[in-house]
Symmetry: C2
Subunit: 258 residues, 2 copies
């Protein structure tokens, strides 16, 4: 498949720019909030309308693509052949509802199973982080350079709270060795911190749409994305993922209890 | 003592506005970083220079005041009589160094032991939250209204990570009852979330300069500030503090193991 990468990157930026403008307004409104798998797994009318709009736009332009998305407007994706788009209309819905800050919208694109392009918008900052391994990574129009390969004691770590509270995977030992724990509650926002070296580790149970865009950006900048047992990441299922600098991921893989 | 409250509020806003402009620039610079009580208790050249400048300005205008400050440029404060200023030049120094976001500068003023005025600047947002019980609370010039008296299941909680990891005070049970845990790592930033109802609880071991300004703002807006055993807050010592909505603080006091 022959794809114009620049054209696709511009298309993703244009989509998230539109979404970002709407969600900035929507974040201040009252929302119709429902729950999914548990009382703290939220979905709003805006998650649904945003995804529906994004899926429609992608289908219109990339007619051969399949779409893996959070709220059910995409396709049933059975394998990673060809062009696959992952869509997370609102990442950090709890933050969107409660904090009205620190939430994102994300699109990841994979070509024959390989990371191709990713785009994340920090809605409140109105900044878009985008690009891919063969294109470079940008914050809006400014090129992003690879963060330093910091060690665990040098940096802040972000681990999902159910994992820390239950001390799953020896995660409390990881925290103790670091500069401290932060919990931001949105994968997209944490990927933003990672690509600028402002946190050095993210460890969480992630669905494909949570991971897809961030994986593209992080790997393009030399960060490591690993499963908990160092097996290949499977983009079609939910799994515990470790993302961080090379030094930190290697240290964490030694620390975790499987 | 007769004090012009409006004049003092404007003075605090002017001071933090100056500090905020400097720290915004300083946050992007390389810093000279030292440690205090442990390897993760940081202090920079900017903490010191900012405090020195603030203490000088306060002494110049309020010659009778005593000043309780973090880095040692203030006075030895033995009691709360008269006018006492609490100065935290950079709150969230770890964030200032690592994240270059989510840090604050804070001044709290007490008159004969009672909360009088407080001011907090969110440096990256360049927003100042200020005022007192007899004056009202403002975000820059806009009046802040009291947040809703949300219950624990309705809101996000922020608890310092050493407390959660060690499950001190039954804090993990508190997290499980809430909408989720966030850890922002700066008292000032968390007070900001509390006064707008974007988090419902902050629980941490706080020094007087960490608590002083936030206590004034929170209590003025009907939020509760309590010690862990519901004894009066002592502004001259470090202690575990619970800050939140009335419903949440009451629920947490029932849950904690002393």
């Amino acid at each position: 498949m022959k794809i114009n990468i620049k054209e696709m990157d511009e298309f993703l930026v244009e989509l998230l720019s539109e979404v970002g403008k709407s969600l900035l307004v929507d974040s201040k409104k009252d929302k119709s909030v429902g729950t999914k798998s548990s009382r703290i797994d939220l979905v709003t009318n805006f998650d649904k309308s945003t995804e529906k709009w994004l899926v429609g736009k992608i289908k219109e332009k990339y007619t051969d693509a399949t779409i893996f998305s959070e709220e059910g407007y995409g396709d049933v994706v059975k394998d990673m052949s060809g062009l696959v788009f992952f869509v997370d209309p609102i990442d950090g819905t709890m933050n969107f509802v409660k904090r009205r800050d620190d939430f994102a919208s994300m699109i990841g694109v994979y070509l024959d199973g390989k990371p191709f392009l990713g785009a994340i918008i920090d809605v409140i900052k109105q900044e878009i982080y985008h690009g891919g391994p063969d294109y470079g990574i940008f914050r809006n129009k400014e090129k992003v350079i690879s963060p330093k390969n910091q060690s665990l004691p040098e940096g802040l770590v972000d681990i999902s709270w159910p994992m820390v509270v239950a001390d799953r995977f020896n995660s409390q030992a990881v925290v103790q060795k670091s500069s401290g724990l932060r919990i931001y509650g949105s994968a997209g926002i944490i990927f933003e911190h990672l690509i600028f070296g402002r946190e050095v580790l993210y460890m969480s149970y992630l669905a494909p749409w949570d991971l897809a865009a961030g994986r593209v950006l992080c790997e393009s900048l030399g960060l490591k994305v690993s499963t908990i047992d160092d097996s290949p990441v499977n983009m079609l299922k939910s799994q515990v993922v470790i993302v961080g600098t090379e030094k930190v991921v290697s240290e964490v893989l030694k620390t975790v209890k499987k």
